[in-house]
Symmetry: C2
Subunit: 210 residues, 2 copies
């Protein structure tokens, strides 16, 4: 049985992906509000109407952009860490891949979600709600990763509390790197805080992954 593909849909999907690829880059620098349909059309040499047709509204474009960023984030941050087996090693790997994701500028404006969350944190609507959802999903993932290390007997800590602290180090390094571009040492500072925090929570005899 042969699978028939509709060439028109394929072409449309490809355009949509190209548009969203540019959209996440623009939004990570200029925000989801600075992201405009006209600008997308101009930079990609498409028509405004054509771009608009893919989304139907500005808000839907913004939501689609956040969803696209989420996929990129999952690939850049979560997947590499999940290649490491559960335990303290994975907690460390998650931290490393997060800092690397920020430092490598997977998004040119640093962490997409930190930026978008601040932009929409004090507003109401679908974009705020979705960002809150993604944030909770992320925090839950960090807590879960920590909980695994506790189950493995490698760590002794309150997962929620430790997740809060690690996440705070990530975001703070990210923001500082944006504000003081010269200060390349900020990521090492964050690494040191993470190491010290994990070391103090590690159970005696646990091999440290760094």
């Amino acid at each position: 049985m042969e699978t028939r593909v509709d060439g028109r849909l394929v072409r449309g999907d490809q355009t949509r992906r190209i548009v969203l690829g540019k959209a996440v880059d623009i939004a990570s620098v200029d925000g989801l509000e600075g992201l405009s349909i006209g600008r997308l059309a101009k930079e990609l040499e498409l028509s405004k109407g054509g771009v608009f047709a893919h989304f139907g509204s500005k808000e839907e474009l913004q939501l689609a952009t956040v969803r696209a960023a989420r996929r990129i984030y999952a690939e850049a941050v979560v997947e590499p860490a999940f290649a490491v087996e559960p335990g303290l090693g994975r907690v460390w790997a998650l931290s490393e891949s997060w800092l690397d994701y920020s430092e490598r500028r997977v998004f040119p404006g640093g962490c997409f979600f930190a930026k978008a969350s601040y932009e929409y944190g004090a507003r109401v609507g679908a974009v705020h709600d979705y960002l809150a959802e993604v944030n909770q999903e992320w925090i839950a993932l960090v807590e879960q990763t920590i909980a695994e290390a506790i189950t493995a007997g490698e760590l002794a800590a309150d997962p929620a509390q430790l997740a809060f602290e690690l996440n705070a180090y990530y975001d703070s390094a990210n923001l500082a790197s944006l504000l003081r571009a010269d200060d390349g040492a900020i990521y090492d500072r964050a690494r040191q805080s993470i190491r010290a925090r994990l070391e103090s929570a590690a159970t005696a005899g646990t091999a440290l992954p760094w």
Copy 2:
């Protein structure tokens, strides 16, 4: 000798202060880019031209808004802490006044500088530069406050490292409170992290300020 005051200048200054008061509130929610001259004029029932004349350009309005926010921040966060004598007590007071400043919503959108710094972190120009300057000024103040506690023999730590960590807790609690408005416990979580971190760095025999 009597000081003569020009009533026109007084009136102008007052209008300017009213405008900037509204401006910081708008910007803390909708960003410095979402802050528009037309919107300011409408909400304050002034003319666009009249508002514009006070600043001469959008960028100058933005810079004046950040300066105004800095004054409010100094009053809400720094001054209360500086009423406490130098040492661990002042470090703790600074943390408390920061969290209180965020939780009380001195700016309706949470911490003005976290928001504005993320908005302009990845851009170039005078606004970014000034925000970077204010940020460095703030970090230096936290480090200095920590250094005082070390000098007083109450704390043993790397001031820059500890300042990074405390500041990370502040910002992270602020963002979480915006994204998950229901989670009122987030500030207590931050407090707990701060206490634990200061406790582990306090020298033996030091009275803990909480």
